[in-house]
Amino acid sequence: MTEFLQHFVNGLSVGTIYALIALGYTMVYGVLKLINFAHGDVYMVGAFSGYYLGIVGGGGEPSFFRAAYVTLGAMIACALLGFVIERFAYRPLRHRARLTALITAIGVSFLLEYGFQLSPWIRTPVQFPPGPSPRFFPPLIDFGGERSIEVLGATMPKIDLLGLGVALGLMLVLQFIVYRTRFGTAMRAVSFDPQVAGLMGIPVNRIISWTFMLGSALAAAAGIINASSRPKIEPLFGLISGLKAFVAAVLGGIGSVPGAMAGGLLLGLTEEYVAGYTDSSYRDAIAFTVLILVLLIRPAGLFGRVTVEKV
């Protein structure tokens, strides 16, 4: 029972990270029908911008304000990155063949991964790019005394619980934005049919930009939450997480916002339970197996609707 609960907590903690990243994939796929390969790397950049912000400002003493400043700063930085990527890499290709956008996305993904692995050009105040060796994310919040609480014998680090809370809060905010605001309505209209949405007076380009920014900000938040619990960050760690988040998006039904949340949590839990009760050395293979199974059994995902393509 204790072990079961422990796995549940761990799985939930990883699952919310997947869910936050998957939301970016799914929203961008919704409006552009493009798998944004670079999204996993935006998540990585989010963690790194948090790391840099933690070094440059914030006084050094871990506190609530410092955590908020670092998280919001990283979210803004990544939103800008998302805007730049969309504006300069994807928008010029929107009327071209589908494959060109995919190849560009792969290119952008590499540029971030390997650009960050170059040895530093800038040395003060921070070393940028960070280079290939792992760096350690500074602690953002000092909980004083006990670092974790025990429930029924399962250890729950306070930082994970806080991360879980923040992630769930962000998802609620997103739910509100998508279903209760004008922007959200416009976004859903664009993902339903961009041409008609444009004819109805919706500024499609602006909506797409905002969608990218929103998705990237969520990825940055995921990066910060993940890094404050598992502080080792390196330029390549976005690749596998991005891949798994994509699996989560497909599992939930790509293009569906609630699907991405459910898919992320489900994938995190599946991974944790399967790895926990069997051989954990094949942990990374679990998500891949899930992806293959989803594609074979229900390609539309859990929440996706099976659509008939009209020509």
Partner: protein, 348 residues
Amino acid sequence: MARAKAVFRSILPFLLGLPVLFAIQSVTPPDYALILVSVGVNVVLAVSLNVVNGFTGQFSLGHAGFMAVGAYTAAKITTGLVGVDLPFVPQAFSDQAIFALALSAGMATAALAGFLVGMPSLRLRGDYLAIVTLGFGEIIRSVIENMKTLGQATGLSGLPPRTNLVWVGVSAIATVVMARRLAVSTQGRALFAIREDEVAAEAMGVDTTGYKVRAFVISAAYAGLAGALISHAILLATPRMFTFVRSIEVVVMVVLGGLGSITGSIVAACTLTIALELLREFQAYRMVVYAILLIALMLLRPQGIFGTREIWDLAIVRRLFRTRQLAATGPAGASPTEVRDDSTKGVV
């Protein structure tokens, strides 16, 4: 008559190539041999990837994974049979026969892996193949790193030195002939049809999934061949040789040369391999340059250097060899990065 001509056309490159290859093999100093081997292996990789990414318009990112499958299968066979001699034949011949067996086994297992990966992802339209193959490449690496029999992270070493320029040259010729024969066959026409418009192809009765999977399996088999060749040239098979970076290198070659052009793939594979060899001190920037190259190509010249044009479609070459042009429509249509896709037509 036509069939005999086709068979002759397929065999002729080998007949012409073999003496040349033996000549090259005997005059090349060992220092340069390895560079030529890697050029040849990259030609095999690029041309075979072009069958999927260029001819069919799908996008595979997992060529290195199939290389790994081929390399480890072949390495297991050659190291397992290292002291074994076939009866009644000289030892040198016996070694080569075993190597041929190992290469075929590598191709077969890679093809099987290709089937397992391709079948679920190619049933669907869209970019699923890219992400599934990307995942496959990472998974195969983590599987190898966890398997004791495959040497885990250190890999297999002490492979017998079996790869020579003749083997590599023959493989490269075989790949090019395969791609060329495929392009002019019914199968090839079906692939081009899928690339141009999948919905229309399906409406015309093309079994799109079947053709896509077959193309993917063929391509995976040749990737396995390339993996087996390179591992028996550097006498080593480690998971580090078959990372994502390797897959991307091949993708860059194909995209640079032109998706759909065999000539382009060959030229780009040779140029990039030799350029990398000359620019060894800039290794750190290699991936960044690839990334910028991919983005810049897509923005400025999406069809790559050659588009879908082939050197044998040039009027002068056609007159020289009196070959017929592909059907009446000219070269094999437009590159998959050149045509406008209708699925995004609505996005303003």
